[in-house]
């Protein structure tokens, strides 16, 4: 992983730093709670936690504007929280309840919000990549200057449809930011066991797409890179690739024994590179807030997460009639 660049820039405002701190902490506490509920049997099936990668979505959302779109894989809880979706609705979807974003019919991997321009939540590795290009295509077709963030992992980066999409995106100058969240492991396979071309962003060059690698444990670096990529797209210069070097602390899913890496490896990154800790230090060093202030924020966030968990437990299961609804639309959905 790249060494952290110095990011204690004087032009970062107090409000901005505190916002990142809150947003990242919300994701972490939410995911810890989801892990707990999974252990209690309240969440079933696959549940992929985002802990460790929080700076990626928080940094990029900070570079997005209203109306920009995003689409991601099944490791999607962080993306939904970062784009402003309600933690209650997300958690209730995890518990398969009527109050969930998909009325309990999608689950952890399949959630959507038209309001927040969040287009899923896709369970098939890399399927979201051409879909994201299609979203970008729709904005270009309609003549807006909106941008689509297409998130996928280092595992998905080896899928053929990513190559197909790069080719079309550059061919048609689609306003798409390809975000490779390189968390070093495709399920249990490390990058070096999956490819001899480990610098994923460089593959864009084969299609004429510019890009760069970014320190994904530094939310400010991510935001800066996001702004550059977005400006590139909005200027009509076509797609841009950001390979964001990050790390997943937890297993691939809840059922992952994580035998493919050492406990020490994980511990070292948690201690030395943690993105939330980094922002916390910047806040304290810059005397933007006191330790007590941060504790108060922690408490607020815990309350939000607890409230979401309570909602997710209390929300009823979907009505049995829901089995046969939403298979066909009767009227044209207003997607855009």
């Amino acid at each position: 992983m790249a060494t952290r660049k110095s990011t204690a820039k004087p032009n970062i405002s107090k409000e901005e730093l505190l916002q990142y701190y809150r947003d990242m902490l919300l994701i972490r506490r939410f995911e810890e709670k989801a892990g707990q509920l999974y252990g209690m049997g309240l969440i079933g099936g696959f549940c992929h936690l985002y802990i460790g990668q929080e700076a990626v979505v928080v940094g990029l959302e900070a570079s997005a504007d209203e109306g920009d779109k995003r689409v991601t894989s099944y490791r999607d809880h962080g993306h939904m929280l970062a784009c402003g979706m309600d933690p209650k609705g997300v958690m209730a979807e995890l518990t398969g309840r009527d109050g969930g974003y998909s009325k309990g019919k999608g689950g952890s991997m399949h959630m959507f919000s038209k309001e927040k321009h969040f287009y899923g939540g896709h369970g098939i590795v890399a399927a979201q990549v051409p879909i994201g290009a299609g979203l970008a295509f729709s904005d270009m077709y309609k003549g807006t200057d909106r941008v689509t963030f297409i998130y996928f992992g280092d595992g998905a980066a080896n899928q053929g449809q990513v190559a197909e999409t790069y080719n079309m995106a550059e061919l048609w100058d689609l306003p798409a930011v390809f975000v490779i969240e390189n968390n070093q492991y495709a399920m249990g396979t490390s990058v070096k066991r999956a490819t001899k071309s480990p610098d994923f962003w460089e593959r864009g060059a084969a299609y004429g797409i510019e890009g760069e690698a970014v320190d994904g444990m530094d939310v400010l670096a991510v935001k800066a890179a996001g702004e550059k990529a977005v400006a590139h797209c909005r200027a009509g210069k076509g797609p841009y690739i950001l390979e964001i070097m990050t790390y997943r602390y937890r297993g691939h899913s809840m059922s992952d024994p994580a035998k493919y890496r050492s406990r020490e490896e994980v511990q070292k990154i948690r201690e030395e590179r943690d993105a939330i800790e980094h922002v916390r230090e910047l806040i304290l060093q810059g005397k933007h807030a006191s330790d007590d202030d941060l504790k108060a924020i922690d408490k607020d966030i815990k309350a939000v997460v607890n409230e979401a968990a309570e909602f997710a437990k209390e929300s009823p299961e979907p009505a049995l009639e829901e089995l046969y609804t939403d298979i066909y639309a009767d009227v044209a959905p207003q997607n855009a």
């Binding site: 959507f112 994201g132 299609g134 077709y141 080719n167």
Partner: protein, 461 residues
């Protein structure tokens, strides 16, 4: 020794063409590889090259002649000193009889039945949706599909067409002819050869509020895109609790063409018909092709629109209405009858209608039902018919296991058991990959003869 130059088959399904232009004159010396003529097929204008050297003795078919059957002598090459007129006379004498022409490949001699002659489309029972006295216009299925897309693109500017060769080439099968000129490159988009990618891109564009028509050059290539069609297009409305629909059409030719072997000759009707969330349409006539495609483009759900290459060039009457649509889920009774119900769809209708005509000569009156859409499936019309005829034969080109016919049989067993006087027979393609050899291909396909035999079997006659 004079050599005849025969009208070439320039595509697997070409049976006749137009001799557009001769590029050589009588008396010219030609070498192998010289362009002799331009020939228009049902899909394209092709240059036709000489394979031998010699002198073009006599042109037998003048430029501008339409409907020249494949294998008809079109000119004679002579060697030095040969009498061109005599050679020409001899060639014309030996010209194949009209009924033997029109087959690109040699007829498989060992196949059990005669090759189906180009059937004349039976006159359909009047479409109930069409007001009486409506003017009808003879239109090919190909033109009908193009007209449907053009009309819907004029009506709704979020509709666009993308696929391989749809724009500048005017469609691999000429379905999109003229659309680029009218709608421009923004709305008629040539894609790279990237089925998985552009199918997924189409899904995203539909999520983004557009109405894509994704053309697969053939549905055989859609297998590369299967994940996007099933997992992304069909399931997202459900997985999103009704928030995120996917209003789009996947269309292209499906099923066997002619002599293109296993990987290019599969009928996917039963595969797609199994998937909740998809609409599946397989028209037979040009009117249905037009009316159903217009409905498909307007439908808020993902629609699989299965066309057939062999039907593209067939003409049918199409109502000359400003906005002619055909609803989904409504079968059409092409022929009323009291003795047996023959249920089919798509090109299977060719065999069903031929069989019904032959059976009528023997006093067996078949009721022929064209399902038109496979999802939703109009089982009510089939059940009603079987309550009248008490017998049923299904006809489709696809494989026998888990076929549409199997499903209809099960529905009839459950819902019309007391009305059945014989087990339902499913006439299908054979349970083999499509062979290349002409005789084996003929054996692999469902035939009119098989439909006739099945009808006799269920009527015990």
């Amino acid at each position: 020794m004079a050599t005849e130059i025969l009208m070439p088959a320039l595509s697997p399904t070409m049976e006749e063409g137009t001799l557009a232009k001769w590029l050589v004159n009588e008396g010219d010396t030609v070498s192998a590889g010289d362009i002799l003529a331009e020939i228009e097929t049902d899909k394209a204008t092709m240059e036709f090259e000489a394979v031998d050297e010699g002198t073009l003795g006599k042109i037998l078919v003048p430029a501008g002649t339409e409907g020249v059957k494949v294998n008809t002598p079109i000119a004679v090459m002579v060697e030095e000193g040969e009498d061109a007129e005599a050679a020409a006379a001899k060639a014309q004498e030996a010209a194949p009889a009209a009924d033997a022409a029109g087959k690109a490949a040699p007829d498989g001699g060992s196949a059990p039945d005669a090759p189906p002659a180009e059937p004349k489309a039976a006159a359909p029972a009047p479409e109930p949706e069409v007001p009486e006295g409506t003017e009808m216009k003879s239109t090919t299925v190909r033109e009908a599909l193009r007209d449907a897309m053009a009309e819907e693109m004029r009506r709704d500017d979020t509709v666009f067409l993308m696929g391989e060769e749809v724009a500048e080439y005017q469609g691999a099968y000429k379905i999109s002819q003229g659309l680029l000129d009218e709608f421009g490159a923004k709305r008629v988009i040539d894609t790279p050869i990237t089925e998985h990618g552009f199918a997924g891109l189409g899904v995203g564009a539909a999520f983004g509020g557009l109405r894509p028509i994704v053309e697969f050059m053939t549905f055989n290539f859609a297998m590369q895109a299967m994940d996007q069609i099933i997992n992304s297009a069909a399931k997202t409305l459900y997985m999103s609790g009704g928030q995120m629909g996917c209003p789009m059409v996947f269309r292209g030719p499906n099923g066997a063409a002619a002599r293109v072997a296993a990987q290019h000759s599969q009928d996917y009707a039963a595969w797609y018909a199994q998937v909740p969330g998809l609409r599946v349409v397989q028209p037979y006539s040009a009117a249905d092709a037009k009316g159903l495609l217009k409905t498909a483009i307007r439908d808020p759900n993902p629609v699989i629109f299965l066309e057939n290459e062999i039907l593209y060039g067939r003409s049918f009457d199409v109502p000359a209405l400003d906005d002619f649509t055909v609803p989904f889920g409504k079968a059409r009774i092409w022929r009323e009858g009291s003795d047996v119900t023959i249920v089919s769809f798509g090109i299977g209708m060719t065999y069903a209608l031929e069989a019904a005509e032959a059976l009528a000569k023997d006093g067996i009156e078949a009721e022929v039902i064209d399902l038109r859409t496979l999802r939703p499936l109009d089982t009510a019309t089939v059940i009603e018919s079987v309550k009248k005829t008490n017998r049923c034969v299904t006809v489709e080109e696809g494989w026998p296991v888990c076929s549409i016919g199997n499903h209809i049989s099960a529905v009839l067993m459950q819902e019309a058991f007391d009305w059945l006087d014989a087990p339902v027979i499913n006439c299908t393609g054979k349970d083999v990959p499509m062979p290349y050899a002409a005789n084996l291909e003929k054996l692999a396909l469902v035939t009119t003869k098989e439909v006739i035999e099945a009808a006799r079997q269920v009527t015990y006659r």
